[in-house]
Subunit: 543 residues, 2 copies
């Protein structure tokens, strides 16, 4: 039996596109004499469809599109993920299902049992857990078909009370097929391989695993679908960050392939962000980006990634100097735009700032310069960038990094503006690493941008280090609090200074109101701000 | 046995305040010879604690605070909601528990079985469902103690496979105690009574139900805790929208009390919004609000509600006229501020707008006036309001209504700014009703504001009706799509015009990117924008 894994970039709710992609992959696989093609979890609807799942109309369209795909399954079968209705009067309205398509129709449905409901996952919000297990017979083989999480509870500390693969083993299957929606973070591909191998180690069956590829707003799917032989050896690894289709002969699987496609953390983050920006624009039907270029590292890295994603000619940089901008800022920003070959323009904010100052003078009276005046500058820039966005149909890219977003070091409705945050899940120390990675062959980001001390340039001679600790220390504390969910005493016991830890954790918590209003952030870590981290605003904890 | 229901306003993460409130209520109840005091679900932590539940430190503090409350339980017992650790290696890390406090210690724990995971609820994200049922014996009575949802599956179409009260009945309890966190929407109090009565109808036991009161950012708890005798008659209904403590003698319950505390929809929404604004400021430690007053109905109603919540003297109105503002706008706005007795100031945006225009001229060239210029005006106002907010420590109130938020009729980083959206869950037709309700005794909101046609006044002679259908029709379509999750064909079949339905639904879906960045919205309906409605941004469904 020849099994093809089809790793495609779906678009949520775009049934026509999803269905046509699958029909074309089935035709492709058929030409190569495949017997079976496997597609990802909820492929027909895109993942995650979120609350569209509560619309009967949406569910009906999923079913109809799957029927269309089934029509092309003549002389070849397919496994396709879709939501289906729970016909019982008890339980949630839907199942998260794998449809087995053959002879032009939907022949069987297998439902998911283990419903991830943590971090960015909300599956129990929509789906009833399956409790009825069966294998699918096809061409004399018993296929143990499962959906994503159903083969992930392979350890000792289990999140769930049942092990679906143990149930399926009662029917003596001959192959494991898993359709998945396993979003990227920089450690996920390695984890995924470990889990797949653990399944083969335990069940001694060949395993075929089909993942999504492509970005759905903040969620990035890196692909990297996998195949293992019954001896736990990797025999197939589909491309990362791009569509792919590969064929495997179940009766003649290789002994082992090289296990080396997985690049290192910074390269992974870079490629994921490029895909994230590119897909966001493609799926919304936009071509051109605009961003404010300060001469600093965050906007420089954002721009280099956007240029890679969209083409340098489609990224419009705007330099927005004020009286506090340093001598080198404009030159560094211009050098970057020139290195990339991107269009750029300069708009000074001095006269706009002064017009705000003049109108506010009777109301501010003679009160001293505070953060209010700093923010007016950042917000004047925000208005100008949005004006260009509105006039020319550009999407504004947000340039905030995770460190500053964490401690609230940014201006709401100012530099926190944008349709998409590119670096919002990248700590400042990693932004520097990204810059060096981007410069690995030649200078794209001016070295002066990388080497000078970070500054918001909103008052004379301002430096980030005036009000924040060194980023190495700040980021390490933030990582323990955000990614590792450690409390203050645990972090202090790691050797960080008590007052500093308390100050940083307080800053994080009192900034929730700001993060609530930030753009979606491309997720590259195990705990990104956004849909996977849900915090109260009026709380009083560590604050 | 004398049972007290204590209905308190908790503060998420503020253990000291929550614990002291409970200790003081226990002292109060003891003075009145109560044997038992019941507090709400997750009372010790505040509801919803959201991802703070993932912090071990947070869970430990919950336990310690509960131990503190237990120390005051001498000669009196209490039931207190808190998260507790699941000691098994299988399942989620926590239970959602009711602690039985007596003789100075935590004597027993009862865990919640049915974990609401829909709309604004995320309980399966954190909690393992309980499967082990037992009653609690106290002073010769068997108490069937349960947590919120555990008594809500009383119907035929059940969301869950088990009925916890059926399990508890096996031990022949003599009274039902339910601790709850049942957030307000304008139909919820009536639903709650129906469900409580259905339980007594089925189990023939007296029932005591303790709810939260007070706002936690967007979630509003209306209180209205309940007591029923074994004959299904209402014998206690605690106050709505305020703290309350009432005592009931189990051996001498009244035959029935009047069941008339429940006001009508618009009055309910009004009182809920007043509480929502008041608590948001109190819990964040702020006193004063600022808002832009246009002379239109949305900002007028927002201001009247804020004045009621915070005191008129604490609400600063800013009139921000442009060249497109109509003759009556300034007068209507001034009349409102004067009627309320609130401070107001006028800042014209003409010169600021012109300075943006001048700087953008070389970039915009001679392109025609578009939405870009409209938005500059709205954003200039946003910058001015935030400048006052930053300078004087005011919180900016957002004045958008649900209809315009739904169709994206608002400027991101402009009039969509604010720390809190007061009317974001109120359709425009209900905003008019609220205005009339506010004017029920005398004219607070100028009748001219209520009677003139709505306009954004961002270009000459603009009216909402130029680009939107009548609000009666728009709101009816939106209600079917948002609250009822009906698809296009279902809505068209109700008699709405096909092109209009398709256009409205498309506007809703393509505006998700804007709503992603809006402030938290006080929730008064069954489906508010925000945490209870989770939509993809890059999707292509009905768009």
């Amino acid at each position: 039996m020849k099994i093809a894994i089809a790793q495609l970039n779906y678009h949520i709710g775009n049934f026509e596109s999803n269905q046509n992609k699958m029909i074309s992959a089935i035709a492709d696989a058929k030409k190569q004499n495949a017997d079976l093609v496997i597609f990802a979890e909820l492929a027909i609807s895109g993942y995650p469809p979120r609350d569209f799942l509560e619309f009967d109309d949406y569910i009906n369209r999923c079913w109809k599109a799957t029927e269309e795909v089934a029509k092309s399954c003549i002389g070849i079968a397919a496994v396709v993920g879709l939501p289906t209705k729970n016909k019982s009067t008890t339980g949630k309205a839907l199942f998260n299902s794998a449809a087995f398509l053959n002879d032009g129709e939907i022949q069987d449905l297998v439902h998911k049992s283990l419903l991830p409901t943590y971090d960015i996952f909300d599956e129990y919000r929509y789906f009833e857990p399956n409790t009825d297990f069966h294998c699918v017979n096809y061409k004399g083989k018993r296929l143990a078909i499962s959906v994503c999480e159903d083969i992930w509870n392979i350890g000792v500390d289990d999140l769930y009370r049942i092990k679906p693969m143990d149930e399926l083993m009662k029917e003596n299957p001959e192959v494991i097929i898993n359709i998945a929606a396993s979003p990227f973070h920089y450690e996920q591909a390695a984890r995924r391989k470990k889990i797949m191998k653990a399944n083969v180690d335990k069940y001694h069956l060949p395993l075929f695993y089909a993942n999504h590829v492509g970005a759905q707003t903040e969620l990035l799917f890196d692909g990297g679908s996998l195949a293992y032989n019954a001896n736990s050896k990797l025999v197939g690894e589909l491309n990362y960050f791009e569509e792919d289709l590969q064929l495997f002969d179940l009766e003649d699987l290789p002994k082992e392939i090289q296990n080396d496609k997985q690049p290192q953390k910074i390269a992974l983050i870079h490629d994921a962000l490029v895909m994230g920006v590119r897909n966001y624009f493609q799926k919304l039907g936009f071509k051109k980006a605009v961003l404010g270029l300060s001469g600093g590292i965050d906007s420089a890295v954002t721009m280099a990634i956007a240029a890679q994603a969209l083409g340098a000619e489609n990224v419009h940089a705007v330099l927005l100097p004020s009286q506090y901008s340093s001598d080198h800022s404009i030159k560094d920003a211009e050098d970057l735009a020139k290195n990339l070959g991107s269009p750029y323009e300069i708009i000074t904010i001095k006269s706009i700032y002064e017009s705000f100052e003049k109108e506010l003078k009777p109301h501010f009276k003679d009160l001293p310069f505070t953060i209010a005046e700093e923010n007016i500058q950042a917000r004047a820039r925000g208005v100008l960038l949005m004006a260009l966005s509105n006039k020319f149909g550009y999407i504004l890219l947000n340039t905030s990094n995770k460190s500053e977003s964490a401690v609230g070091y940014g201006t709401l409705y100012g530099d926190m503006n944008g349709g998409l945050s590119v670096l919002g899940d990248v700590y400042k120390v990693d932004v520097f690493e990204l810059a060096r990675y981007i410069n690995r062959e030649n200078e794209i980001i001016p070295w002066n941008t990388i080497n000078k001390p970070p500054s918001a340039e909103l008052r004379p001679d301002q430096k980030d280090s005036d009000s924040l600790p060194d980023y190495e220390i700040l980021d390490a504390i933030l990582f323990q609090y955000i990614e590792k969910r450690k409390g203050p005493s645990e972090i202090i016991s790691m050797g960080f200074e008590e007052n500093l830890v308390n100050r940083v954790l307080k800053l994080v918590n009192i900034s929730e109101y700001k993060r609530y209003q930030t753009p979606p952030i491309l997720r590259v870590s195990t705990k990104a701000f956004g849909m996977g981290r849900r915090m109260p605003i009026v709380a009083k904890y560590l604050s």
